[in-house]
Symmetry: C2
Subunit: 412 residues, 2 copies
């Protein structure tokens, strides 16, 4: 039998077509969770699944599952997937590549009339990014039973609208139970979102795990007053405090190399008027590291800085943990399957640790899981100029196809 290969042109075409939903003038995508743009892309994905002969189920968290039956459908599915939602100024590949690659696997199985032993499923998980609703990855988090359905539905965006309300509004509050399913194994293809593969001219990243993450919301409160007649020494300037913390967060990241990342990505100033001393500032802190002890040390340094800087300027502070993901180690079964297929297909490859969170980190808790990275241009992601080569995207999809097929057919 000829070695089956995915259709690279069809994969690229699907990526370009679905990128129209939420397309931005700069060539990126703004497809925030459960907006009309997200709904349009979901509708297209469901249409394509149906055309590929899949049965489609939507669960009560809005997660979408396209299923291609096998011979033994009482066995849990070999699963792949990723997410359709994007950052506010996101790109055409982050998340949606894994969903379209899963669809392409199913289309290719159809092309070659391959009957698998076990069913194959491709999933689109709700709210992976966490841009509109915190925490991120809430769709897969509910699926594995880490959060309740009620917690998922209660997430609010900055305007106070809940995730549950928006699911209903766009027609994706499905009727399938949100949890309790078995999964044979899970593979997720994704762009690297970092510069490593491109720098080393390597096509396939074989994921062995991911950095742990700790996210916080911080609020500093001082006293707003007139910028003219309030002398410097009598001020309680919340933005001055926040600025010193931003600097400190950066210092903490630099102090815990290698592997540490630290970021303040969000900040809101009140009342945000040029001639009023800011009375309140809210901001986020994002720490990442592959060692949980280092994450703990980073958090402690942040708390110490918050206390001393707030005291120095006369501010009150409040810190709320928003997410805490332990470092992740994937299943050897899946790591080996990815590495073996990359090798068999003749692609250059290397082991790699993910700096970003992915739904795969959650699914890893209930089933053997692995991931496949492909390079992206200049390592840039979460940006409208995010880009990837059609040949690399096809290579990643071929590895995914091989790993899933091996798992769905060859088992004893």
């Amino acid at each position: 039998m000829i070695n089956p290969k995915i259709n690279a042109g069809r994969l690229w075409q699907s990526l370009m077509e679905i990128a129209r939903h939420g397309a931005t003038p700069k060539g990126g995508v703004c497809r925030l969770t459960l907006t009309d743009e997200d709904r349009q892309a979901r509708d297209l994905f469901v249409k394509w699944l149906t055309e590929a002969g899949c049965s489609v189920a939507v669960d009560r968290m809005g997660n979408i599952f396209g299923r291609r039956v096998g011979r033994n459908n009482s066995h849990p599915p070999v699963m792949t997937g990723s997410h359709i939602d994007s950052q506010p100024t996101g790109g055409k590949f982050d998340g949606i590549y894994g969903v379209m690659a899963g669809l392409e696997v199913i289309r290719t199985l159809n092309d070659y009339h391959i009957e698998t032993e076990f069913p194959i499923e491709v999933a689109a998980w709700t709210n992976e990014e966490g841009s509109r609703f915190a925490p991120c990855m809430i769709g897969s988090g509910v699926f594995i039973g880490l959060f309740s359905l009620e917690e998922g539905h209660a997430c609010r965006d900055v305007n106070g609208i809940t995730l549950g309300e928006e699911l209903t509004r766009i027609g994706y509050n499905g009727d399938r139970a949100e949890t309790g399913f078995q999964v044979d194994s899970y593979f997720e293809a994704h762009i690297e979102q970092g510069p490593l593969l491109e720098d080393e001219n390597i096509t396939i990243g074989v994921l062995t795990g991911a950095l742990g993450q700790r996210w916080f919301d911080v609020s500093l409160t001082g006293c707003e007053s007139h910028a003219g007649p309030t002398p410097m020494h009598l001020r309680k300037d919340a933005l001055l405090g926040a600025s010193r913390i931003v600097n400190e967060v950066n210092r903490i990241g630099l102090a815990h190399q290698p592997h540490a990342c630290s970021t303040v990505g969000f900040m809101r100033v009140y009342p945000n008027s040029r001639n009023v001393i800011p009375g309140k500032v809210d901001f986020s802190v994002d720490f990442r590291h592959c060692e949980v002890e280092q994450l703990g040390a980073m958090e402690q340094e942040l708390r110490t800085a918050l206390a001393s800087i707030s005291d120095e300027i006369g501010l009150e502070y409040h810190i709320t943990p928003i997410a805490d993901f332990a470092p992740v180690y994937f299943s050897d079964i899946c790591i080996d399957a990815v590495r073996r297929n990359a090798q068999a297909l003749g692609y250059s490859h290397r082991d790699i640790i993910s700096g970003a969170g992915h739904d795969a980190m959650y699914i890893n808790r209930i089933a053997p899981t692995g991931m496949i990275f492909v390079p992206c241009e200049n390592g840039i992601s979460h940006n409208e100029i995010e880009n990837a080569k059609p040949s690399d995207l096809a290579a990643g999809c071929n590895v995914l196809f091989g790993a899933m097929l091996e798992r769905a057919i060859k088992q004893k």
Copy 2:
């Protein structure tokens, strides 16, 4: 003849009644320029002027003038006034006190059937605060010919709506010419917006002048990318740069004591998502000093810091001067009139320099001008908890009444 006094209860009542327009739950006022709340307060002011027998004119900048005729109406008016607009989280006294005090002067002249030699006018100037439209004090600025009508109408808010459009929308695009009027003299009553009078238990501040001001808009551009897989040393984090500038602005203010103030009151982060490294940050800088040489040195230090911090982090920067007000020295004629009347009425008083900008600083360029400060609670202003004592507000209004009457009657 008995010494006429203003009606303290009526003044307080008017302040409380007009504060309903834009009232906030915390007891303050949000009455941004040319919003519906501003229109409602303007309508009430016009109604009260009319009821007090004044003729009302609105110019093409939306400035409102209530005129009480004298015997010699070919002579320029003795004028007072201030502004109706507020900060987003402003108080019940900033600006509106000067307008209501002017109305109370006219009502008191009516009570005592006093005929003045020269006409009396009370003005409400458009967009003093500069919160919604920059630059601040554009209404009085156009009145004195510093800006053209076109420049005034072209000011845009953050949503891109122009001041001219909003004037038309709320019905305050008047038909009186916007400039070319003579003013005999101008007095403005205002809360201090600083802690000095209250600290020294003094009722009346006799203004001798005001700090000069330089305002800037600054924009820093880096590269937005994913907070996880982008290593610290490859980042171009615009918020890290902005935070260092905020610290530097604070340092510059402290380095130019006494009298220097420096503030970053506004900041906006793009794309403002917790797991994206900020690609762009816009913020304001506000410098104040009573010596123009010191203002120049402060600006130069800011520009030096911008260049070196941007270079260090790999950012591009852009700095735009938004306003440049030279230090102001009021007219001895008006300073003496204020001091003499405070003295004659038996109020404690002291000379004082304003840290804030006021429309009086512009009117000072075309007519003898003076100002009267009264204490405000804890020196707090531009804040919903802004407060002042009825007795202090009445004292300031009595000094205003005395100074204006002296000027409108006693001249040779």
